[in-house]
């Protein structure tokens, strides 16, 4: 406990907390991305995967608790560090050249972080909790079932991204996440002291951070872009017709 307080009370220690919590969140981002990407393998794959996760409470809950803890630590240390930094520099310069030589991503790290947090809340309401009011389709996502009677995640993604404001918000948020990570991962490597040259590439971790952000952006946005370009349109329209038909005949679906 004393050890943890020592870390929390030092400037470098808080950066370790920030970096390690950020790193575990990045770990989640990668795992989540691999999950999402299965949408391109068709409804069977992704729905099976969804069902698998849902049934594994022994994996799901510890993972959720760890993630939540990391988010709390990350945001808490962000605000604590920010407050200290503001206090350390109470007066600026008259000819203020907006943080000399600092990258755009580094100057906007707090703003991108806050918008990501807002997006995460929306995202959870949208897909994880299936709150009908935020998905703009009027369809209850949590009630969707595939032919095997499992939650139809495939259809949910198709329907979700068929509304362009939702898809655009998603793409912007992922863009900001990548902006955040392009600086954040570099800062993280710096905070834990990883700055080696490897295979002739100097500052390999910095290069990894930059390319990682680009790759994450492309893969994450590929899903809404594909849907907007008509991916899975036949499946979606058939399902919507089916939903409408069963709503008219008053069977099951509603609620």
């Amino acid at each position: 406990m004393n050890f943890l307080m020592k870390i929390w009370n030092s400037s470098l220690g808080k950066k370790y907390i920030m970096g390690i919590s950020g790193f575990l969140l990045v770990f989640f981002i990668v795992a989540h991305m691999m999950g999402n990407f299965q949408v391109f393998l068709g409804p069977y794959w992704i729905n099976t995967y969804g069902q698998f996760l849902h049934d594994r409470h022994e994996i799901l809950w510890p993972a959720r608790i760890v993630l939540l803890t990391m988010i709390v630590l990350h945001i808490w240390s962000a605000f604590k560090l920010r407050a200290e930094n503001r206090a350390a520099r109470p007066v600026g310069y008259a000819g203020d050249p907006a943080s000399f030589a600092a990258s755009y991503a580094s100057r906007t790290i707090m703003m991108s972080g806050i918008i990501i947090a807002a997006f995460v809340i929306f995202h959870l309401l949208h897909y994880a909790l299936g709150v009908r009011a935020v998905n703009l389709t009027g369809i209850d996502f949590s009630a969707l079932r595939d032919s095997a009677g499992r939650p139809d995640i495939y259809l949910m993604l198709l329907l979700g991204f068929s509304k362009w404001p939702v898809a655009v918000f998603y793409i912007i948020a992922v863009g900001l996440l990548c902006l955040h990570l392009s600086h954040g991962m570099r800062a993280m490597f710096q905070s834990v002291g990883w700055k080696w040259t490897f295979g002739g590439v100097s500052h390999l971790p910095d290069q990894i951070a930059r390319w990682f952000a680009v790759v994450i952006f492309i893969i994450y946005t590929s899903v809404p872009v594909a849907v907007m370009c008509g991916f899975g349109k036949a499946y979606r329209e058939a399902a919507v017709q089916h939903l409408a038909a069963s709503a008219v005949s008053g069977k099951e679906v509603d609620r």
């Binding site: 350390a88 030589a101 600092a102 580094s106 710096q190 905070s191 002291g193």
Partner: protein, 258 residues
């Protein structure tokens, strides 16, 4: 050439300051920035006005005393140059130039353009030294140092302690200075024995002085007249983590025995 100067005037730490505008007429482009200020001051004195006080000593870029923020950039915009080595030929005739002191809570203003950088001295006192037994100087070749290590230590040792890194940082963080000083000694065999204690004590003193935290913007590296690299900050972060963990292990080992 002629310059219009907007110079910070402040009586002492307690009173509020403000900019005063002065003309620097017929100054030579071959003058250094500080020589130009000397001329302006002499004219002020001749006119019965109070001169501006500013810090300087060696005027050859090696002591780290000069400390002016020119148009928002500590030491001005020339790479790897202290303000005493900044010449007027890099300015345009008729240009307006803003001159301010370092701004950081840990560097309180003494008067006009002079700030108190004693916080750096206290950080050095906390660990920026090696303990050497008295007696004869040791045989010079008894302690081999590899070329790579000697180069790294030398690069770190180039820091002149001017504080421009703090001045430019949006968080007024002293990480680059402290990292240079920690790395310089921690790399060398002479400093190895006190490696862990050094990094812990210097970081702890840095935090006490009220400097901000590093957010890896790289402003310090860009403005540093000695071009100290951000890599030293990574080295210090690593050394500090190792020192924390080692300290914990040692404590639990001692506890086990006792």
């Amino acid at each position: 050439m002629n310059l219009t100067l907007k110079i910070w005037r402040q009586k002492n730490a307690a009173s509020p300051g403000c900019f005063e505008t002065h003309e620097a007429r017929d100054v030579s482009p071959d003058m250094s920035f500080l020589e130009m200020l000397d001329v302006v001051n002499e004219r002020l004195i001749a006119g019965g006005q109070e001169p501006f006080v500013f810090d300087s000593d060696c005027r050859e870029g090696i002591c780290g005393t000069c400390s002016l923020v020119i148009n928002g950039i500590p030491h001005g915009s020339r790479k790897g140059t202290t303000v005493c080595q900044l010449h007027l030929r890099y300015f345009k005739d008729g240009q307006t130039v803003t001159i301010e002191p370092w701004r950081a809570r840990a560097f309180p203003i003494v008067k006009d353009l002079i700030v108190d950088r004693a916080a750096f001295d206290r950080i050095m006192q906390a660990g920026g030294f090696v303990s050497v037994n008295t007696g004869n100087a040791p045989e010079a070749n008894a302690l081999p140092v590899s070329k790579e290590i000697a180069d790294l230590a030398m690069d770190a040792a180039a820091c002149i302690g001017c504080g421009a890194c703090v001045a430019v940082c949006k968080n007024a963080s002293a990480m680059l200075f402290v990292a240079a000083k920690v790395s310089h000694l921690n790399y060398l065999p002479q400093g190895k024995a006190e490696k862990d204690r050094r990094v812990k004590n210097m970081v702890s003193q840095m935090d006490k002085e009220g400097f901000g935290n590093c957010t890896v913007t790289g402003s310090c590296e860009a403005v540093c007249p000695k071009e100290i690299s951000l890599d030293f900050i990574a080295k210090m972060n690593r050394d500090y983590a190792v020192a924390l963990v080692k300290g914990e292990l040692k404590k639990s080992a001692a506890g086990g025995v006792g």
